[in-house]
């Protein structure tokens, strides 16, 4: 029975707990987190700063291991070493950051093809694939530009292209509109909606309930606990 459920859920967290040790004292960032996210969902994790959203995102994104509990991603247990985690991030997760985190010295094409190189693509194949991806986000004409020559919205689109280029299982967006004005923010949200309607699973972390309302399911985190997990009936479209 549980096997069947597991095969349906992309993300399955059981009793996840993360404890930080600072000096002599310990601090529980999140505890008793049970969470299932299925393929094709559009989930927003919302909560005030310090609630444990980032910790949760780091664990979902395989940037960090949980202190205890079980987290399986796409049926695979994620309790593993650094290298294995890097591999999971590379293959299964596409990150979109608040500050875009593009590498300033590289052209946007090189930024987008980088995950493919880590995946073992040859330069030529990676270039082709990255170019196609950039065309999809409407930046096909700018591939030689450096990120600094682009606007914030464009940079976030590059970041989205980079997140998508490896065909990941989950797109993990951490405050994707945080650094953008509301108009471009709406554009980015629209893009995420479209990606979701194409079948991509999206997990968005935000402190802003209005932004969260764009998702189909809203998980509220407070003081390290999930306080509510409900389908969004007030869904807005950008």
């Amino acid at each position: 029975m549980s096997e069947i459920i597991e095969s349906n859920s992309l993300i399955k967290m059981t009793n996840i707990e993360k404890v930080y040790r600072m000096g002599g004292s310990t601090f529980k960032a999140i505890e008793n987190v049970n969470l299932k996210i299925d393929k094709g969902e559009y989930v927003a994790i919302v909560g005030p700063s310090g609630a444990g959203k980032s910790t949760l995102m780091n664990i979902i994104g395989c940037l960090d291991n949980a202190t205890s509990g079980k987290y399986s991603l796409d049926g695979q247990n994620t309790k593993c070493n650094d290298n294995k985690l890097a591999e999971i991030r590379n293959k299964k997760i596409g990150f979109i950051f608040q500050n875009y985190n593009l590498i300033a010295k590289l052209s946007i094409l090189d930024n987008v093809l980088l995950p493919l190189l880590y995946l073992g693509y040859t330069g030529k194949a990676a270039k082709e694939k990255a170019k196609t991806q950039l065309e999809k986000v409407g930046l096909g004409k700018h591939i030689k530009h450096k990120p600094t020559e682009l606007s914030g919205g464009q940079m976030q689109r590059v970041a989205i292209a980079r997140a998508l280029v490896t065909d990941p299982q989950i797109i993990l967006a951490d405050e994707p509109t945080g650094a953008l004005d509301s108009k471009t923010g709406r554009e980015v949200l629209k893009m995420l909606e479209n990606l979701n309607s194409e079948g991509n699973t999206i997990v968005m972390i935000t402190h802003d309930r209005d932004i969260a309302n764009h998702a189909k399911r809203i998980i509220t985190v407070r003081d390290g606990h999930i306080t509510s997990d409900e389908l969004n009936n007030k869904e807005v479209t950008a």
Binding site: G61, D64, N83
Partner: protein, 396 residues
């Protein structure tokens, strides 16, 4: 990740920070070029010395007698008939002898010997003739003059047939030596060569303590050596002395080959010392690379975090930084080699320093420079690879 991609990425990164990369390379450039020039100079000197010695004839054995020994004309004939020995020439020499021609006077050195001397010492005359056995036998007051000496007292070198005074005694010039040029031991053209019998009378000496023995060929030099030693042992009455010893309280025999070995070993150790000095500057260059790489790791913390987030493994980051470090030092090495060649060319052309640049040194220096980058890149690269991606992403 493909290694070629890593190389491309590293080269790109180095190229992107041109000024910084160049400044980082500077230490390596200076190190490598100084190693090449210094070692080149050392090897040049080495070659010069060994060339000079072999120009005197590699078949040459020098005999120095410590205890007086009366070697007669008959003895010399006997020695000459031994296997491997082609010619024997006794030598009497003296420095700072006063010479005079007309109103001009000067000092020079005397080398006095027999007719074989010319062949043994590779002397030729540009005009006139050399000393003959007849000159020696009859104690003729004749001499062969060096070009510089001739210039000193005559002002010209076409002096065959002229008369000059040596220590107040009148001598007839019968030949002029071919100019040999200046060597490390001074001018080879400032000398006069006299028949040994005449010189002995002039210098009031009857003992001869130096003999030159010419071997038939370089291959037969060992045969000649042992026969020579056997002869000397017999003459001194040394029955029990092994012929293997070349130096004892009675005499010393020295082949030119062993002289080359001795002389070049000095230059070799000098070369090694110079290489050491260069290696130290390379080491300093390596520390410079480590410094800059450490700064670069801190500067690029966020980039490293991003790379890790999108899937770079520890090893990938480690290799990326190692390649960057060794690319900087390797490119520095190549520039250093070119600078070394340029420096050597300048030294050769404008300061007529003899420099020999061997391919081994160039290759060795280049490989060493890459190694310096690798070794000094390990610490920063390791630091970069161990960065926690979450903290690195948060780094401002």
């Amino acid at each position: 990740m493909k290694i070629t991609q890593l190389f491309k990425m590293a080269l790109y990164s180095v190229w992107n920070n041109k000024v910084r990369s160049f400044l980082t390379m500077l230490g390596i450039i200076i190190g490598i070029s100084s190693v090449i020039i210094l070692v080149g100079m050392g090897q040049g000197t080495e070659k010069e010395v060994s060339d000079e010695i072999s120009s005197l004839g590699t078949n040459l054995i020098t005999v120095s007698l410590t205890k007086t020994l009366n070697i007669t004309e008959a003895d010399l004939t006997e020695l000459k008939s031994k296997p491997g020995i082609k010619a024997v020439a006794p030598e009497v020499s003296s420095n700072n002898v006063n010479i005079k021609a007309g109103s001009k006077s000067s000092t020079t050195s005397i080398e006095a010997s027999n007719a074989s001397y010319a062949a043994i010492k590779n002397y030729t005359v540009s005009s006139g003739r050399f000393i003959t056995d007849r000159d020696v036998k009859n104690r003729y007051n004749v001499l062969v003059i060096g070009t510089e000496t001739a210039n000193n007292i005559f002002g010209y070198t076409n002096v065959v047939g002229q008369y000059m005074y040596v220590s107040g005694i009148q001598y007839k010039i019968v030949g002029v030596l071919t100019a040999a040029g200046t060597s490390t031991t001074g001018s080879s053209d400032d000398k006069i060569i006299l028949p040994i019998s005449s010189a002995q009378r002039l210098l009031k000496t009857s003992t001869i303590s130096t003999y030159y023995v010419e071997g038939e060929s370089q291959a037969k030099i060992d045969t000649a050596m042992s026969y020579l030693k056997m002869f000397l042992n017999k003459k001194y009455g040394l029955r029990n002395l092994a012929t293997s010893t070349t130096t004892n309280t009675y005499y010393r025999v020295l082949s030119q080959t062993s002289l080359i070995t001795t002389a070049t070993s000095t230059s070799t150790s000098m070369s090694n010392m110079l290489a050491g000095v260069g290696a130290i500057s390379l080491l300093v260059g390596g520390i410079g690379i480590m410094n800059i790489m450490l700064v670069s790791v801190i500067e690029r913390t966020k980039e490293i975090g991003t790379r890790k987030a999108i899937g770079a493994k520890r090893r990938t980051i480690l290799i990326q930084f190692l390649i960057e470090a060794s690319t900087v030092s390797g490119v520095g090495g190549i520039i250093g080699v070119l600078c070394g060649y340029a420096g050597a060319y300048i030294a050769k052309t404008f300061f007529s320093t003899s420099i020999v640049i061997s391919n081994n040194i160039v290759l060795g220096a280049f490989v060493f420079s890459v190694l310096v980058g690798l070794v000094f890149g390990i610490y920063p690269a390791n630091k970069a690879s161990k960065l926690n991606p979450i903290e690195a992403l948060r780094f401002e």
